[in-house]
Subunit: 82 residues, 2 copies
DNA sequence: AGACTTTATCGGAATTGGCGCATAATATGG
DNA sequence: CCATATTATGCGCCAATTCCGATAAAGTCT
């Protein structure tokens, strides 16, 4: 199971899905990632200005990781990201 | 070809490698991603506080994309990220 | 409906990205 | 070598995250 993450919103959705799958609250995930519940909330709602290290900490806490590969199919214009 | 991206430094290295592969300068990549050369420089050197949207813009400009999947092998402690 | 849990939001303070402009420091090449 | 191109730093500024504490707004369940 591998999820596409081209936009902040997509990433937020992935995080929320994974968190719920584990039955965790935002507060719980925040504690594991060393972040506040508020920060998790922002991230899950697609905060485009989230810090890279915060994102990586959350992924690690969820037992997830990020892989970079050449864009296979479909285009995402720069504007879509924001 | 898929690259593991668990830390800001790894991501920076991936970006630099991809950029050089295309024969682009940081200024060139910056222009395509809507960012400044200085920002690209910081990113490639592993800036942990880079903004998520900036990172995604750079990946898109390089024709790359990010995928999130369950962490397969090896552990990365939270401290490693910083 | 009512109580409880979970999530979203708001104040202020501190920190930092990213911009603009400029300039060292470091490749690169002729 | 030396001129040039490329990359890394510098300062001031504005905007925005993130933290802290607290609270409003949803959601969940009996």
């Amino acid at each position: 199971m591998t999820e596409l993450a081209r936009t902040p919103k997509q990433i937020g959705a992935i995080i929320r899905r994974a968190r719920k799958q584990r039955g965790w609250t935002q507060t719980e995930l925040g504690a594991r990632a060393g972040l506040r519940q508020e920060t998790i909330s922002l991230m899950e709602t697609g905060n485009p200005a989230a810090r890279l290290d915060s994102l990586l900490a959350v992924l690690a806490a969820l037992g997830l990781e990020c892989r970079v590969l050449s864009r296979s199919t479909g285009e995402t214009a720069l504007e879509e990201i924001f």
